[in-house]
Symmetry: C2
Subunit: 306 residues, 2 copies
Amino acid sequence: MSGEQEAGPLAAIAAVERDTGLSKDTLRIWERRYGFPQPVRDALGERAYPAEQVEKLRLLKRLMDTGHRPGKLVGLELAQLQALGQGLAQASTPRTGVAAQYWKLLQAHDVAGIRRQLNQALVVLGLERFVVEHVVPMNEAVGEGWMRGELTVAQEHVYTEALQVVLRQAIGSLPGGASPRVLLATLPQEGHGLGLLMAEALLSLHGCHCISLGVKVPLHDLAAAAAMTEADIVALSFSAVFPANQAAAALHELRSLLPEGTAIWAGGSNAALNRRMLAGVEGVRDIALVGGLVARWKQAAIGSAP
Amino acid sequence: MSGEQEAGPLAAIAAVERDTGLSKDTLRIWERRYGFPQPVRDALGERAYPAEQVEKLRLLKRLMDTGHRPGKLVGLELAQLQALGQGLAQASTPRTGVAAQYWKLLQAHDVAGIRRQLNQALVVLGLERFVVEHVVPMNEAVGEGWMRGELTVAQEHVYTEALQVVLRQAIGSLPGGASPRVLLATLPQEGHGLGLLMAEALLSLHGCHCISLGVKVPLHDLAAAAAMTEADIVALSFSAVFPANQAAAALHELRSLLPEGTAIWAGGSNAALNRRMLAGVEGVRDIALVGGLVARWKQAAIGSAP
DNA sequence: CGAACATTTTGTCTAGGACAAACGAGAATG
DNA sequence: CATTCTCGTTTGTCCTAGACAAAATGTTCG
């Protein structure tokens, strides 16, 4: 009677690595050091993770991406972890009636509805305010919704897809600018392209000529592309998932690969951007600042090449 | 004088894993078994892979994705590997003047030009023929171009980005169909979304109501979404990179998760699709067949629910 | 020619040890 | 009071080497 074993789905270590983003090595050493996770063993003696533990691991990973350390988190209960995560978003999310509407649409996987909702906000606010005041907080709200278990990954994707369509459409309807020429990309470690799209929208809006290479572009290719396209600015996006130390290293290397005249702008929610930036790299802490930066660049350009 | 060591960039094992898609375990065991790769060791005794070997590994991986086995490939020279890869694409690629034009544009990273070129083809051929006769062979040509070292990853991405924009625009300008309701997605192992977009284009064209969840959707979320959206068909895309055995297993599980009335269509360049399909799953070997399948579905629907 | 079996080939898993890089607290300094 | 520096602690990644199942191939038999 004791220890009732729910035969819930068990995940192999490779699946857990894929779903959580924690490497096999890390999973094994956490088990050794902290006693968590504590997978059962299958007939072959291999680790088999109950869904519940995988869920907690996902949460842990997301919190670590925002700067927490595992030693402190591992001991906590699921509820405590969720509470930790809420603090972040709650402060900035405007809990207006609008957010509630999104929620209802997402619950129903209503793609068209979400798209309509987004488009409406776009029309009402205009592109700049739409991105800065609407999309950014909504992104956070959706992330938090997932963290609290109110949203599935699929529902997150419904939102992401719809937003992508709306942004791309908005970008497409903008007149192609001329200068500065901006090359957009993320590095190979980074698979999230939404930040890139948001940046492209604002940059285009401010008259930049955007060339997006999309996601996962090797550093050297990026440098080559910058040379070939005669880019004035190389803009990179770093989500929270990007290993913070590697971000700094990569930016350093990119700086050495590009001619001095080419600016580097780095944006996103990554922790590395809150630290002191190395010389010759502009850390864009807040996407709202993009407009000002472009203006500043144009000013400088007038000075240097009259 | 002998053994001149070019101080070319050395990659750590984690970077090689990321860039090639071969796991650390696999890299180490190939070294043990086949003697390749043969990385040098850095000051810490850790593997450091010369760029040349990484390049060969990338090629190996791509060939393995098309069905070759490593034991046979490892001994071959780079040129021989390239020759192996060419056979595939060369047969199907129409080496018309059009392809050459793309080449020139890609060499210059000319996103706008590529987009124009694609749009032109779209207008001339119409969406169906554009996808089937133009995009599919171009995808292969671009893949082969990368394999022969004529194209960088960044240039591949330029093409991908442009194609994405064009397809999305085409889809957007189509009237939203009503029936059947199709849910599109890829599983968590699969990061490539282009196939999905191509499928969405053709499905929409044939009057389907498409709901795309995008890339990397967990199986259970997908099933839940199918129920919630009352999807008639769940369409999955499997690129060559997807581990073939896992594809079969995943399809099997999905089949058991979905009600019988919900069809499963699986497409893409994955090797698993050329094997015998399990009952209740439609393997779409060629994207050109999508139109016929939709027609067939509509026929059947009339019969079952008059 | 296809089915059943044997034999290779291949990738993933296991274990524990080692170590550098990142972090955080406290001391010392401006 | 803020900054830099030092030093212990925390943490992830890498190492070796062995084991084994699943997939692919080859072989034999009906």
